[in-house]
């Protein structure tokens, strides 16, 4: 499955400044594994030591926050856009 991944500013050092890269995989977990293979080290910024999504990172598959879906097992259909975004406080 070919997908696109939007990279937040603070991780663009891994992608030579590129904001959107292409990825592969049937689930978010596979997409992140392939992303880390293409851009070594980036996976460890998104996932913690136990392999879970870091608590201050939000990952969206299409419009859906993956915490509302299947987390790392969320399916990533062909052509979908994945966004990795730092959590921010509001009001």
């Amino acid at each position: 499955m070919s997908v696109s991944v939007r990279i937040p500013t603070i991780l663009r050092t891994y992608t030579n400044g590129v904001a959107e890269v292409s990825g592969e995989g049937g689930t978010l977990r596979e997409v992140l594994q392939k992303l880390d293979a293409d851009y070594p080290g980036i996976g460890g910024r998104i996932l913690d030591e136990t392999g879970k999504i870091r608590r201050f990172v939000n990952v969206y598959v299409g419009e859906e926050d993956v915490r509302f879906a299947e987390g790392l097992d969320t399916a990533t259909p062909d052509g979908v856009q994945i966004s990795v975004i730092p959590a921010v406080a509001g009001g």
């Binding site: 937040p8 603070i10 663009r12 910024r45 201050f56 730092p86 921010v88 406080a89 509001g90």
Partner: protein
Amino acid sequence: MAHISTATPTTATDFGPATGLSCRECGAHYELGPVFACTECFGPLEVAYDFGEVRREDIAAGPANIWRYRSLLPVPAGVADKPNLQPGWTKLVRADRLAAELGLRSLHVKDDSGNPTHSFKDRVVAIAVEAARAFGFHTLSCSSTGNLAGAVGAAAARAGLDSCVFIPADLEAAKVTMAAVYGGRLVGIDGTYDEVNRFCSELIGDELGEKWGFVNVNLRPYYAEGSKTLAYEIAEQFGWRLPEQIVVPVASGSQLTKIDKGFRELIKLGLVEERPYRIFGAQAEGCSPVSRAFKAGQDVVQPVKPDTIAKSLAIGNPADGPYVLDIARRTGGAVEDVNDGEVVEAIRLLARTEGIFAETAGGVTVGVLRKLVREGRLDPEAETVVLNTGDGLKTLDAVAEQARPSAVIRPSLDAFRAAFAN
């Protein structure tokens, strides 16, 4: 004049006693700049200081607004002379009638509806404006549940900055009008606050957002410090003493986190005597991810999709939620929620007993206070403070059906007598 630290700032810009930014999660250190997330772990960055000596009398000699605490904030010494809204130093109302109704010995309402745009947001935005000036930004922006949008619009107008603010399109009419009236750009987004927030986070990495200061995104470390002034004011207004219990609304969780930070700084600086205090967080049932996590004994917050009349608290994915859990547990407090009906009841209770008309967020804090007292989880003998963070005029719809004329009559004594014969 207050004592200002002699520590050398790490940048050419003047941030007073601030020395840098540090990651709340992993402790990594950064220079003062328009950055908000740790490049190591994505954790939130917060301002680190070298305060030097800070004395009560220097603070007391300052202006009747948040700048009396400038030596505790990331702002230059001359901040009070710049054009800004001069928020803060709002009333701490002794609430004997509400206390009697609830069965409490001592209760005060910190009434932040008295700020220039009628919510506590003026405090945080004032700090963000200083940071925006320091970093040379020309446009002030934010994602907002309503109150922040108005505060940003007004502060930008006063400071002579452009503004462009983003809100969920379905907000209360009063908040939309307030956000638009100051002349900046107001953009309604067809989605929830969390979706607006996501949009802003993407905008910030795009050239469209170049030279924009998003008060609650890239200026967040500075912005969030403004909430500490609530803690400072409450302590000073008590005669330099900490309350024993405080009930604080929880949206993103930032305000509660910073009130705790403010209390701890006052203790560390010797400005108040150390005593135990308990912090309670208040949410609306229809958006209670932190309360749910607290009750379930979890330390992670599962996001929710909000559905409540307390729209200013409708953040389903609260970034500082984990810290709220830590603080409530550390201080012996709790996080609790009330349903929309209880929110409306509490708004009317506060209005009826103390003459304070709170917005829905104030109904949430007073409602949770009442619930905690009833359930015996809050000590009725301890000195308690409850926050009202916004003005009821902003959320009229919430009470419009219940708050109606007692009668509509012809202008005659007979008609009045007939209407109120019993």
